[in-house]
Subunit: 338 residues, 2 copies
DNA sequence: TCAAAATTTGAAATCGCTTTGAATGATCTC
DNA sequence: GAGATCATTCAAAGCGATTTCAAATTTTGA
């Protein structure tokens, strides 16, 4: 069913039908009703490709995922959030997977040249993110989930990683802990650097010196966390508390603690960052897990909103959002045993 | 940079340039080289919308995700697999998220009417899947990850769930276990029904009677599994072995076992189904986890391949693939203690 | 009542590509 | 050397929508 068919069926011109359906004012209200009713009854929907060609808008937001680090539970939740919002609009999400930064850059070039998307979302930025520079260069609108520093204004939405870790570290220090391990994200990633900043700030505020052996930088998987925590627990004096970068990390640390014959919430404390996965609830763990909490799904939803605002003409300089992070204390963080 | 601009730049007609780039035979080899070189140098890429309108192919595969059950680590891996394959072709993945079956059906109608995708992939089918019926009706090509029975031939790729659970159950029975709990997927989902079949077959082959109290049907989350396992462990006599539907489930069961003061691999055995998540390695758990293993990422890759084959004209009746499932025995499954 | 203004409709151009059908030379064949 | 064949190129017609500009009809105002 093409516009032409619908128009013939109605005995009207394509022009009028198109206008009626798109809410233009210069069409008789009676005709509009008749058109709308018939279109609905016949299940007419404009051909997406034709519409895109005619309007010059592709009606899609791009999301490039680097298989190696990006995919996994975080991205899945983020995607759910994005989808939840754009689903209500006439916008789709185009997912492209690549294997390296170079491939990712190439993907943006392709996407830009072929005008496949109206905008993209950039996630897990580094301190000086080449992808942002490229997109600026290509004049592809984007919103960043996180922050970067490239000398040009970049629209972003981020959570207060520094503040979150600073408070969590401060709390552990207040409980008497002095050997606090930080299982952080990869070096160079903005969020990881921000967390390190918060960690160091809290330590130095209490006059506790920093021990590099107590910091790990890696992607957030159960297994890597297990190994890192295991190694750290063999140090003497051993750490008495852990800051876990994600719930996956927390699970790995948890296993290491148990395997070392120690008990979480007694011999060792832990505060984990919780991105709020529906299938991994800090409240239902045993012992329940103290967390710094911020829903990554809501972030996805908000990023989608911001992108639509930018496409709607909102100046990029005005798109900056820093979300506070809750500190939720449960059983896994306890006073240091003497 | 449009085709027109490129053509003018080269002093050729759009026709010739288009043909040169698309590998048609009726163009001088010297011209083709010159065109290809210039196009590459100038970074020309055809406008996606125009190309789609002209060819009638949208160049995208649709994936509709139901937020409630679908999203999560499984889908993330599956998506990675799909993306890995289509990335090499000129095909993208369009992700749409919805909240209910009705919404999902509506989404397919929209997608079909607006010709947004050339095909879709259907996952987590039920025994009689309405989505498959609808897509057949709408004449939207699709490949199913799993199986259904709707009286029409449906192209599918599935793993041998029945065989996998039958062997796993059989193995536990051989180890002396008689009270074996099955934490299965939702009733009505084909894979869950298939697993139940395998479970029952193994039990009855050994003359062990089925106890409905030892079977749970739900989505695969850590938390739900924890509660179900906890309740089952309070039964008398209690189960001595668990079949966990996924690695998330296994984590929940693990916690319940520990909380009950029991030890996995000694007091209680477990075999979990492993979809092979890069961040959750059965081999690195403690104790290491016995699993029925099949990579969901590879499944995604294969499904993408099959879709392209179908779009290439392969008859749907010829697209049926049943993958065997490995049974990997590790420490979590042990002989029943007397 | 009649010209002017407002309302409503339609024909045709446009978006950027592919593809049909025709045209132009060059090469063969006898 | 003329007619047929082949190789190469191009102009123009789609694809299915939006949108510009013009036309037809109705309403308004004096």
């Amino acid at each position: 069913m093409r516009l032409k068919d619908l128009a013939e069926h109605l005995g009207l011109s394509q022009t009028t039908v198109s206008r009626a359906l798109n809410g233009y004012p210069e069409v008789n209200e009676a005709t509009r009703l008749r058109v709308a009713e018939t279109a609905a009854r016949l299940g007419y929907r404009p051909n997406a490709s034709a519409l895109r060609l005619a309007t010059g808008r592709s009606g899609a937001i791009g999301l490039v995922l680097r298989g190696a680090d990006d995919l996994g539970p975080h991205m899945s939740e983020f995607l759910a959030g994005m989808g939840g919002h754009v689903g209500t609009q006439e916008i789709d999400i185009l997912v492209v997977t690549v294997n390296s930064l170079e491939d990712e850059l190439a993907a943006y070039r392709r996407i830009a040249a072929s005008q496949k998307v109206d905008a993209v979302v950039l996630h897990s930025p580094t301190l000086r993110d080449r992808r942002a520079e490229l997109l600026l260069d290509l004049k592809v609108p984007f919103v960043m989930h996180g922050r970067t520093n490239i000398g040009h204004p970049v629209p972003w939405m981020d959570i207060d990683n520094t503040g979150a870790i600073e408070r969590a570290t401060g709390h552990l220090l207040d409980l008497g802990h002095r050997r606090i391990a930080l299982l952080n994200g990869l070096k160079g990633r903005t969020f990881a650097e921000h967390r390190e900043l918060g960690y160091l700030a809290a330590l130095s505020a209490r006059g506790v010196s920093f021990d590099p052996a107590l910091m790990g930088n890696s992607i957030f998987t159960d297994e890597i966390a297990f190994r890192q925590a295991q190694a750290m627990l063999e140090l003497r004096p051993r750490p008495t508390a852990f800051l876990a970068g994600s719930m996956m990390t927390a699970l790995g640390v948890f296993r290491a603690i148990r395997q070392a014959g120690l008990e979480l919430g007694k011999d060792v404390s832990m505060i984990a960052h919780d991105d709020v996965f529906p299938y991994l609830n800090a409240d239902n763990m045993y012992p329940t897990m103290s967390t710094t909490r911020s829903s990554i799904r809501q972030a996805g939803m908000r990023i989608a909103e911001l992108i639509l605002q930018i496409l709607g003409g909102k100046p990029v300089e005005d798109v900056h959002e820093l979300w506070p992070v809750e500190l939720v204390l449960r059983q896994s963080s306890a006073p240091l045993l003497q």
